[in-house]
Symmetry: C2
Subunit: 333 residues, 2 copies
């Protein structure tokens, strides 16, 4: 074993000297560019007291490749957990980071990912307070897998959940669909599409906060990640025991994304996004909701065809927008 | 793709119909044998209010093989996070579970692991409140990797941390060393040792609670996991800016573990444990501490040889007990 390897070695997961060096020289300085608290070396962290109830969310990130147009696995892992909490009406305040590193990973790659996580954490005002690092043998991982768990105060005055959705609610989304999935696919498969398609990856707490501050009576929020718009709406329809109707013509899709989807035989309503969400709000607040999040009203909640989503196509016909069957784009997040 | 596969398929990670079936038919029923709360399908969970400060810890588990004498990756993932919180003087109350599944994993294996997690959670009084499941291609994982993050109230009246360790403190451990590492190695390498060596895997909150209830002024706690006793003591010595002296003759090691270590050229002080910890307490409370946790006093904290651990051997000589260099037993947790 070289004295100063430039790749991850099994010994970096040993709990011994190599692991300490990895933590002290690379992981902690990268995650805490302004100086690391020594308590980070303890088994856990104590959260500051809060007066609000706390929400918690966890996600593992296995996206391939690690870097893609508009982001990387590190930024995705921070924003992803920020966004899951935002969908509960909660502001992410603290984050744990679990890394599963594959033997042979260049340390430079790890540094870039960690720096990206640190920048994303600083940008979103989240503190990385505890973590864990494991190393697996070559061929038992894929560079880096990241788990993040976010905790933060619930700032919504009312329950944001599928059970709060009501018939007549409007469905509003905050932008065009499908860019994350197509951006990842383009670099993964070495495809080039007309126009540069960059991921929509973005933190979603600010738009949610704007809705709450504007006094919108937010009933439910759901990010349009794995399985895209279709999965999100179907899950809400099933959980809420209501139906959902959406109009294809109202759903914005970038021309380059539409072209790529046609070329690849993908349906943009099933393609993953990482900066898009659907808000379920009272109909009379739909226009204000769209204005606050820079989005559009795409449909409404009905008390018919319970548990299913119906799409009014651009031709004026209606068809069910089913849950995805099978796999469209593996390892998109 | 078969209609009812008996192994994990990439489609199980899609966010679509297959993923919903995996969650509804296997993961949620297994993790919640007494009935699953529907809110588990939301992006996050809200924690009940508590009056105590909350501690948080995260760990990923990549142990190989998934099942070993005395435990499995599921039980390990629950106890491991329970134990990390216990080392902060906190009782684990809520747990998130992140799964990274490899394509081709038998569903029966997944069921067994999840059932083991559910049993361990029930036994330790911890509620599994949120989770996430990802699927990676064959050859990009190793069956199952698990991440758990535990949150729970800090119940120690004083700070339990390396900074609270004082010169003169006694070092007490709660049992014999090395059984986890040797048990895992025996099944991994197909070795047979004299006597059945079973992992010491166990939840550690109860012994910690007994110390607190007995009025022991606990200064620091550390579980003796990766890197074993040596790593734990060295990290405390370095963080506390003090020295530690331990007596070899006082440290219990099962005869079968000692034999296996000799055969394999391993040092039992570096072998991982999953149910053993060191408590740093005032000298006058050392005997009571040992009695409460069924353990032994193995040494003391000194204000010389700062940052290092010195072992008094059975021959009466002294040698440094250094941090592990290199890797002894990869993927032991």
């Amino acid at each position: 074993m070289p004295v100063e390897p430039d790749t991850i070695q099994l010994a970096h997961g040993s709990g011994g000297r190599w692991m300490n060096q990895l933590l002290d020289r690379i992981i902690l300085p990268a995650l805490h560019p302004h100086g690391a608290d020594l308590s980070l070396r303890h088994d856990g962290a104590v959260l500051p007291a809060t007066s609000s109830p706390l929400a918690i969310t966890t996600d593992s990130y296995v996206i391939r490749p690690l870097f893609f147009p508009g982001g990387d696995i590190g930024r995705l892992a921070v924003y992803g957990s920020v966004n899951d909490l935002a969908m509960c009406g909660a502001r992410a305040s603290w984050l744990s980071v679990g890394l599963i590193l594959e033997e042979g990973l260049p340390l430079e790659t790890l540094r870039r990912i960690l720096a990206s996580m640190a920048a994303a954490a600083e940008e979103t005002g989240i503190a990385i307070i505890t973590g864990d690092t494991k190393v697996v043998e070559r061929g038992k991982g894929d560079g880096v897998y990241v788990n993040t768990t976010a905790v933060g105060p619930v700032l919504s005055p009312t329950l944001i959940a599928p059970s709060a959705v009501r018939s007549g609610d409007a469905v509003v989304i905050n932008g065009d669909l499908g860019r994350h999935g197509i951006a990842v696919l383009s670099v993964r498969e070495g495809l080039e599409f007309d126009g540069d398609i960059s991921s929509d990856l973005a933190p979603l707490w600010r738009p949610v906060e704007r809705l709450l501050q504007a006094g919108i009576d937010v009933h439910c929020l759901r990010d349009l990640t794995r399985g895209g718009l279709s999965s999100a709406l179907n899950e809400i329809a099933q959980s809420a025991h209501l139906g959902i109707e959406v109009r294809e013509i109202a759903i914005p899709i970038h021309e380059a994304v539409r072209g790529a989807c046609e070329l690849l035989g993908l349906d943009p309503f099933y393609v993953a996004n990482e900066g898009r969400f659907a808000a379920f709000v009272p109909a009379w607040q739909a226009t204000e909701t769209a204005a606050q999040i820079g989005g559009v009203i795409i449909g409404k909640v009905v008390d018919t065809h319970v548990g299913t989503v119906v799409l009014e196509t651009t031709l004026g016909t209606h068809r069910p927008l089913d849950l995805l069957s099978g796999e469209q784009l593996p390892r998109i997040c």
